[in-house]
Symmetry: C2
Subunit: 358 residues, 2 copies
């Protein structure tokens, strides 16, 4: 597979790295040549040549071009790439889908070879240096073919999505935009509005911050220019969600001031139910793991002994969290295993002399 | 040290477990005897005897009594414990401090032996079965002595906090309540208001959910009854923060609808600055780690080989994250090490044949 990545930011470079690991040949281009060069240095591919000819003069073409530019630049980039016959088919990764599709149609771009797409993956950091080959592992990747889109193009882009380790999900552009407003765009602005209250807070207040505040505000650290564009491009659905959240919070503030916490209790109840509806970390069919806790001395070799005992018991450790206390000589390792393997693991660890918690 | 834990929910039982690991003797009591018995079965201590006498008839007394009940029940529990001379000094763990202090003073409780406290730690789960001995490791634990509080009592409770692995922080009750409204109570309701929007969303929408939504809404899964009481007990400062967040979100919704994203961009900028003010995960002096990524086959024994190589290189792995893709036979392990140890670790892993990313 030969792929052209147009736009070597976080997402474009991560797509390139993921595909390179699967043996694809990747061309890289960016409006900022320094960014494309940095991505090439990171091993994401080669710079897109000016003329698409092989050594013997035959025309060259990518199988898929991935347009990884901000939403408002997708249609222009698509049309320019199609003008030079860069690829057999095209996809983009913008967080909104109706805007680039409408602009592409208005510009007279070829919609048969264009599969609008959106990987549900990201980081708070941006640029090619933040890219990761594993960014899309297990993540949903929305594909929003239009009526004109050919099934051949859909099949080629679906293969690319799968090669990146993501899970393709077909959905109409209008439904996509409505639902990402709810599950991604509005939450981003809610996190920003909460984080904005911290900007003028004294250090003493922030010393009281716990993990909850970090989680609520984490995504507010994202690229503000890009997010302004995303929010503006999906303004209607986002505004609808934000207005509802604002109304609930204003009502809660009034009720608290009036000494009547009934509507606050109701909001907490509905919020708890809503949080419970989000599927598990791995998406699709959730894999449920049992967590085994074990206390380990904070020194080299201890984790080896631990994993060795697990391996000898034939137990596959699916995930590990280690919690350290700054001042203490021990840590707590939390080992996630399949439920049926928790018993054998506990037996093996106890036999090896580790303090475990059953 | 002998400690009495009054209230064996998540926090009380976690305090008991933490102190038991440090060799303390712990008495357990709860308004629900089943809860206290469950905590005892978990190894958190022994049930509080009805009569506080030793075998030879001498009176027994705890060094510290930890009152781990909801905010509105603290003063009554304190007064009852003081009436029977349960302990030399007393502390509580409620998330608000002015309310229990005022109620204790109104009830005529002895304030000299009472050190109001609040550990900044929690989980979405509650009850004794969710308790963990490591819940307070590295967390801030606010202590709010009143003018009447004796320095002896402060010293005893500070020793208890340190024994739990937490970092004591002295702060006036009024400042505490104002700042936890900002960094804990208001964020809880903001998370709930966002999560509440998901309650009636179709499964298709939730299939598009990414890590950002999970983080923003995680704490909304907490105990709604307890949180209603906490929010009501700190109504004024919480309402002030919520009203400001609601106004910013309502303004953002209006600007998006009007097609003018300027104030949205401004809110994102201030939010980014605010998120940047939160101290690092470990609190106090942040320990900065370098992350080394390595691809591993998803089968028993591979992690052993990996940690063995690290141990032989003398490198102490401080944290591990393993990311799996449901369909792929490999995972990505992210190993956190001290910056100076990243080079030796990469060398050792490459020598062992692992694909690493430099």
């Amino acid at each position: 597979m030969r792929v052209a990545v147009l736009g070597t930011g976080l997402i474009g470079t991560s797509v390139a790295l993921a595909l390179r690991e699967r043996g694809a040949s990747v061309w890289l281009a960016d409006a900022d040549p320094e960014s494309a060069r940095l991505a090439a240095h990171l091993g994401a591919g080669e710079l897109l040549p000016d003329t698409l000819l092989s050594d013997d003069g035959a025309p060259l073409r990518a199988d898929v071009a991935v347009i990884a530019v901000p939403p408002a630049a997708v249609a222009d980039t698509l049309a320019a790439a199609q003008d030079r016959a860069l690829a057999a088919c095209y996809t983009d990764v913008a967080s909104v889908k109706q805007l680039p599709v409408e602009q592409a149609r208005a510009r007279g771009a070829d919609l048969a070879s264009y599969v609008p797409g959106h990987p549900l993956a990201g980081r708070e950091k941006h640029g090619p240096a933040a890219a990761r080959a594993d960014l899309f592992l297990g993540r949903t990747w929305a594909l929003c073919p239009e009526p004109e889109t050919s099934e051949e193009a859909v099949a080629a882009v679906t293969a690319l999505v799968t090669a990146c380790g993501a899970v393709p999900m077909r959905i109409a552009a209008v439904a996509h935009d409505r639902w990402v407003a709810l599950v991604s765009h509005a939450p981003h602005l809610v996190a920003a509005a909460m984080a904005a209250r911290l900007e003028s807070a004294p250090p003493q207040a922030l010393d009281l911050a716990g993990q909850g505040l970090r989680d609520v505000t984490r995504i507010a650290a994202g690229d503000t220019g890009l997010w302004t564009q995303i929010l503006a491009a999906n303004a209607g659905p986002v505004a609808e969600v934000l207005a509802a959240v604002a109304a609930d919070l204003a009502e809660a503030a009034r009720m608290l001031t009036d000494g009547d916490p009934k509507s606050v209790a109701a909001l907490l109840e509905v919020g708890q139910a809503g949080a419970g509806k989000i599927p598990g970390k791995h998406g699709g069919e959730p894999r449920e793991f049992t967590v085994v806790q074990v206390v380990i001395p904070d020194q080299p070799g201890e984790l080896t002994r631990l994993f060795d005992a697990a391996g000898q018991a034939g137990v596959n450790i699916e995930d590990v969290r280690i919690e350290h206390s700054p001042g203490l000589p021990v840590g707590i390792a939390e080992l996630s295993v399949r439920p049926a393997e928790a018993g054998p693991l506990l037996d093996a660890l106890e036999a090896g002399g580790w303090p475990v918690r059953r």
